[in-house]
Subunit: 311 residues, 2 copies
């Protein structure tokens, strides 16, 4: 087969998602391999190199057609290097250099949330835009900031660490990061479940379907859709905090679009509707028209964005 | 004289500051002309064009040596155009196109706070850095966000409108922007004076030197330096809000340095000390080492930054 191709790799704690792309964004092949974290995760990059070389052969490409490999990592990234990636059992690692040596191809490295944001900009909910914020509501809260089609990596690899924006002085529980009152403690799936537990305990007199079963983020949004009053108050608290945080992000970079992804976003447009409402209440008037929309690429955003980095 | 030169222009409501620079940043000439806002400010750009042409002749340069004119405007700017600039009595204006037609030189346009941030990056407190946040505490709160040596203009010209970050749900007075609870309502010179008035009224029993004379921002910081308890509580409230807001900015773009300028910054290092302390308490650990420093260029930051845009 003719034409230029590239690879987008999204490394997670249990699975490595891999994509082979034409440089126009067409997916040629998509597969997964397990993440071998044993022995300090020393097999992760060799496994990726082997997978890439294998697929080039299987698909009948020549090495000269490959523009490079983009790779997203669950951890901070600065100039191709990772200081630490807890979920991969990595300490300091020069990912770009090691994977280039293993494959012979140019390698670009990014934090996985940043790569996902670039993916949504390229072929997802931000297609056709150059300035995008993407927030990922999963176990934690990830965020990627794209300006002029480039990931904002930051001086310490902490660009887009919006999950650790300080949003409350009133929380005494510590966040995983060590601070107290981070956005992630309220607006991740875990945070929403916590808000629900607190609300159930504080209002023992209020009937709610959330008293039956596990009041996780999905249950909260399901109950909200059915008009459950307690779920509604939880969703309002969540949406106020997230909408306000997004309004703070907007007055810094003034994006063209704000994309919400991650497991929690499976709640659908009821989520973007209410978050968008609080966002518009709080934000500077010039940014009030900025759309708040659902992500489109799901779990593939990371491989798209990783591939985009080497185009 | 030989070598390439350029102009940096900073347009204010009463005065236009002008600078003639070598492209290495050496100032060759610096002067001011009045801002003629009558008749919808129609004379402003012709006055600038005349001033520029005059200085080229006076200083013995040739037109071919001029790389261009950078200009900072007190209002939003998007792609060289200004939708409205109240202080200049301008409605929509294609500043770049008009000034290019008047002068024959390339023109770049930016919001004045953004230009000042670029100036501090180039030759001020951010010299040698590429990623800078500058916050200007004057009558209002201005901010410029620089990433990879470029101004973040934003999709609506609202990049760096951090003065309108929502920081409080508890304020019922409206901001000039129409919202309530903007950073500017607390941390501008006007905001600090308001905090002082509120505090004096709420604590009639507390002795304070601020009860004598006008409790403006300068008086508050002077009293704070002398250990006045009420001034200290006002400064703490100010520093908590500003430090927290800067921590929110930091988790978006993760700058190398945060620069504080404007009239309020004349209070000196006591200001950056206490704002930095609250910043470090609230910010994500990766960004805790980011220095919070005083601006260096004073009122010249705008002309430096404007000039830098055409180099």
């Amino acid at each position: 087969m003719a034409g230029k191709i590239c690879f987008g790799i999204d490394v997670g704690g249990t699975t490595i998602k891999c994509g082979m792309f034409r440089t126009d964004g067409t997916v040629l092949d998509k597969w997964e391999i397990p993440t071998r974290t044993e022995n300090g995760g020393e097999q992760i990059l060799p496994d990726i190199a082997a997978a890439v070389h294998g697929r080039i052969q299987v698909n009948g490409f020549e090495e000269k057609q490959i523009t490079g490999i983009g790779i997203g990592i669950p951890g901070p990234v600065r100039a191709g290097k990772v200081p630490v990636a807890v979920n991969l059992h990595w300490g300091e690692k020069d990912v770009a250099k090691e994977l280039e040596a293993l494959t012979g191809f140019p390698v670009r490295v990014a934090n996985d949330a940043n790569a996902a944001a670039l993916g949504e900009m390229w072929k997802g909910a931000g297609e056709g835009r150059k300035n995008v914020i993407m927030i990922t509501l999963g176990t934690g809260v990830g965020c990627g900031v794209i300006i002029n089609e480039q990931i904002v990596e930051g001086a310490n690899g902490a660009g887009g660490e919006v999950g650790h924006m300080h949003v409350s002085d009133d929380l005494d529980e510590p966040c995983n990061c060590g601070n107290k009152g981070c956005l992630e403690q309220f607006c991740s799936a875990t945070g929403i479940a916590r808000l629900a537990r607190v609300s159930l305990a504080e209002h023992p007199e209020t009937e709610s379907v959330l008293r039956d079963g596990k009041p996780d983020a999905k249950a909260v949004f399901d109950a909200y859709k059915e008009g459950d009053a307690l779920a509604e108050s939880v969703v309002r608290e969540f949406a106020d905090l997230l909408g306000t945080a997004l309004s703070s992000v907007a007055v810094v970079t003034d994006p063209e679009v704000i994309v919400i992804g991650g497991g929690v976003s499976k709640a659908g447009e009821v989520l973007t509707d209410i978050v968008g409402r609080y966002y518009r209440q709080k934000v500077f008037s010039s940014c009030a028209g900025t759309p708040v929309v659902l992500a489109k690429l799901g779990n593939d955003a990371g491989i798209y964005g990783a591939a985009r980095m080497v185009i």
